[in-house]
């Protein structure tokens, strides 16, 4: 999925500190075919095969077979050990985390994977000078270098300044790279280091060769600590057209298409001989308003700075039918920022706005916007007129914007011109704070932490040049609630879950009540397999864990049927 921003920052189904769940790793069973080549489709060539540089979905998919994770997601997105030996132990003040590393793991050059590799990986990720598009947030460490230490060859200790609930699902569920290879690299030059050819890896499959723009070939790692894979080779084939990719899996040209959406879902699920899984994605879309009073450059008063106008916007629309039309029925309407795929999803916490056009009109009147002669509302001689930005390459989003724009024009007298914009320049006015509203997409990691999107410390460009809070919305209660969900770490996972769920309910209420953004929908996406055995979906058919490197061990359990 090409989403606007991939946030490596959000927490997971349940932060199970003391639960040891079964690994997804594969034990060879009888009657399983050994060998063969699995063909896998990638929707774009990988930008990088350096694990410190992965900031886009295609690269995350390309690299996911090659590097081990310290912790990983199981099929229901609980965090379980991968390279770690058991769940981490936490000190009584909940600020010191100790992780044991398994002793049987080896890199592809035969050297053992030790605590030194984990320490170095964390230190590189935490280095503020690291040149990368990936966003690593290690700010809770007491120090980017001394905050992580190796107690012995198999024990790593992380020392934090505060209790930090997303730490396990965000910081510890990360891929580990060999210190001997990456440790000596100048972090300011990391971007180009082994960009297209990782020399030493430790996952179930190893790099074999690459034909730029066409394919990336992998071979099995016979010494993989999770068990020797059944499949001998993987060919990652680049098929940029999503329709062609779906057709290729139906024809048997590829064995696995990791992302199908829209109308192609119907085509694939109707095809015979294809195993397809359709589930709610760990991603969502919303309408970002500029909640400031003026554009950041001061050139214009914003249209949506007044909460009454934003509420009128919400009351004027029929969300369910818009989402159904835009996604051909393959989207779940949302009213908060926690996706239905997350265990923290709480339908009772969100604020919903049922379509009520009379109420919407009276809210606009109350905000001082009165109907003009041409039907477009006017205030102080200025028309309610602005640009509704949307990525031009995303037909579903453009369709949704077209429908909303027409509904708002006829129902409410808002003139919001749909403005499809090329992805390369889409974010420029939005990140500069000079816009009125835009359709945005968000890819999430395993934790629902929404600090970078909604905390007022992350307002871009006023407070930071890297945050993702483009709305400019400031609310002390919201900041308090967001801080609480981050720091509410309790001695048991159940207690942590309960405390954070209550915190998130507060966040959702404030976001919904103020219509800080207008939430749209979470995609239903699909994965399709032709001739692959051993794929285990989680609850609600979810295969979120078998994507973007969230779980690497499962690939050693998969096999081919023909």
């Amino acid at each position: 999925m090409h989403l606007g921003i991939r946030l490596r920052a959000i927490a997971l189904a349940s932060v199970g500190l003391f639960i040891v769940a079964a690994c997804g790793g594969g034990n060879p069973t009888s009657n399983v075919k050994e060998g063969g080549t699995l063909t896998y489709s990638l929707d774009a060539d990988a930008q990088t095969l350096n694990p410190f540089e992965v900031g886009d979905v295609s690269s995350a998919r390309a690299i996911q077979f090659m590097f081990p994770n310290l912790y990983q997601a199981d099929k229901n997105l609980n965090i379980v050990p991968d390279l770690a030996d058991g769940m981490p132990t936490v000190s009584s003040d909940l600020k010191t985390w100790t992780v044991k590393i398994r002793k049987d793991a080896k890199w592809s050059d035969g050297s053992p994977i030790t605590s030194a590799d984990v320490v170095k990986t964390a230190q590189i990720q935490a280095n503020p000078n690291l040149d990368t598009d990936a966003s690593f947030d290690w700010s809770p460490l007491t120090d980017p270098v001394t905050g992580v230490t190796a107690k012995d060859t198999n024990t790593v200790v992380f020392t934090l300044t505060k209790t930090y609930a997303p730490f396990l699902a965000v910081n510890l569920a990360t891929s580990i790279a060999p210190a001997a290879v990456y440790g000596s690299v100048d972090v300011t030059k990391m971007r180009t280091f082994e960009q297209d050819h990782p020399t030493v890896t430790g996952g179930p499959f190893l790099f074999d060769k690459r034909i730029a723009g066409q394919e990336i070939d992998l071979k099995q790692n016979p010494n993989y600590y999770g068990g020797k894979p059944h499949i001998a080779n993987i060919v990652e084939k680049i098929i940029t057209n999503t329709t062609a990719a779906a057709q290729a899996v139906i024809n048997g040209d590829v064995n696995w298409d990791p992302e199908i959406n829209g109308a192609a879902i119907d085509t694939v699920t109707a095809a015979t001989g294809i195993n397809s899984y359709v589930y709610a994605d760990l991603a969502y879309y919303d309408i970002r308003f500029n909640d400031r009073a003026k554009w950041v450059d001061g050139s214009k008063d914003t249209l949506f700075g007044d909460v009454n106008v934003r509420r009128a916007f919400a009351y004027a629309l029929d969300k369910a039918s818009i989402v159904k039309a835009a996604t051909s029925g393959h989207g779940t309407p949302m009213w908060g920022d926690i996706v239905p795929a997350s265990a923290y999803y709480d339908d009772s916490a969100v604020v919903k706005y049922a379509q009520d056009i009379a109420k919407a009109k009276s809210l606009m009147d109350a905000a001082g916007w009165t109907a003009g002669s041409d039907g477009i509302r006017v205030k102080n001689g200025k028309k309610f007129s602005g640009k509704f930005f949307v990525r031009a390459d995303k037909p579903q989003r453009v369709k949704a914007v077209e429908i909303m724009s027409e509904q708002l024009r006829t129902n409410l007298g808002m003139d919001l011109q749909p403005t499809p914009t090329d992805f390369k320049v889409f974010y420029k006015p939005i990140q500069a704070g000079n816009f009125d509203l835009a359709f945005a997409g968000w890819g999430l990691s395993l934790d629902p932490d929404d600090y970078t999107i909604f905390s007022s410390t992350q307002i871009r460009p006023e407070k930071t040049n890297s945050g993702s809070n483009w709305t400019g919305f400031v609310n002390a209660d919201l900041d308090t609630a967001i801080a609480a969900q981050q720091t509410d770490l309790k001695p048991t996972s159940a207690a942590t879950f309960a405390a954070r769920k209550a915190d998130f309910a507060k966040v959702e209420h404030i976001l919904g009540d103020n219509v800080v953004v207008y939430f749209m929908w979470a995609d239903n996406v699909g994965q399709a397999f032709n001739g692959v055995a051993g794929v285990q979906p989680g609850n609600n058919n979810s295969l979120n864990y078998a994507d973007q490197g969230r779980n690497t061990q499962i690939f050693s359990a998969w096999s081919l049927t023909k």
Binding site: T243, G262, A325, A392, V398, E406, P420, K424, V425
Partner: protein, 348 residues
Amino acid sequence: MADQPLKRIAQTGSLLGAAGVAQAMAAEEALRHEGAAEDLVVAEVAEPSEIGFWKLAVIRFLHHRTATVSLGILLFIIVTAMILPTFQGDLFRLQDYTHPYGSPFEFHSRTVSLAGASFSIPWTDHLLGTDALGRDEMARLVRGARVSLTVGLLAMLGYIIIGGILGALAGYYGGWIDNALMRLTDVIIAMPFILVVVAVTAAFGGVSLTVLVLVIAGLGWFEIGRLMRAQFLVLRESEFVQAARALGASDARIIFRHIVPNSLAPIIVSATLGVSGIILLEAALGFLGYSVPPPEPSWGNLLSQYEEEIQLGKLWPLAFPAIALVTTALCINLIGDGIRDALDPRQR
């Protein structure tokens, strides 16, 4: 039928001066070629003073059957595009998105009352069906024609103005002006079109009709420019220009009274053929999402939802704009061929 007028021309030819003979011969050639009606020929040839180059060209063109039929079709498209949307108003943007993809040519009977009697007539609300958002395909097609034709004609006007002026300056003055302008042309040719469109889009915060016309005109004028320059290079050395110069005519007079009228023919042909190129270019940009923003339709952005529609097996939302696009481009090209044949001096 062609034989008889030839004799008459031959008879009247002796009464004319040398120029008259040449013109008559040319007319004869044209008529032999096209097999024209004799009355017209007699009238035209009998009064040689009226049959100038342009008039003759019009006669030749009107006898080019394919070109005239194409002109008829194109005029029909243009008139429809001008008139119909005025009556349809906002129909092109009105949505019924919960009932998308209405089928085309689906008639139901409808009762109308006329003079006290009731009749049942076949009726359809959406002759060409509806699109993914339930909008009337016919209204969008006709409205889209406006955008496509407007862009085609305005951008061509831009080509002629920019290319014409720069080409004329380069060709007439030569030297460093020529050098500078031709290097500028090289720069323009080397620019990656789509990247420029993306950059301009960013600068203007989105595409609009004006931006589209300016970008296409700004990047596409070089062909006309080079043609104009070539014409000027030849004509400035011609005897009649030297004669004018010897008589003390100013540069402006030489350019506008002597060279420009004599260089127009190839420019007109190239410009006509260029219009269809621009319409197709607009369609390509619309397909990529760089044409007029929604809900305004253009033939290009009507085609851009192809993927979903093919997946759903709904082909008419693609077929109608595709047919309109091909028909228009073909008509313009055939008209261009007709004009070229009519203006070709080698046929005189």
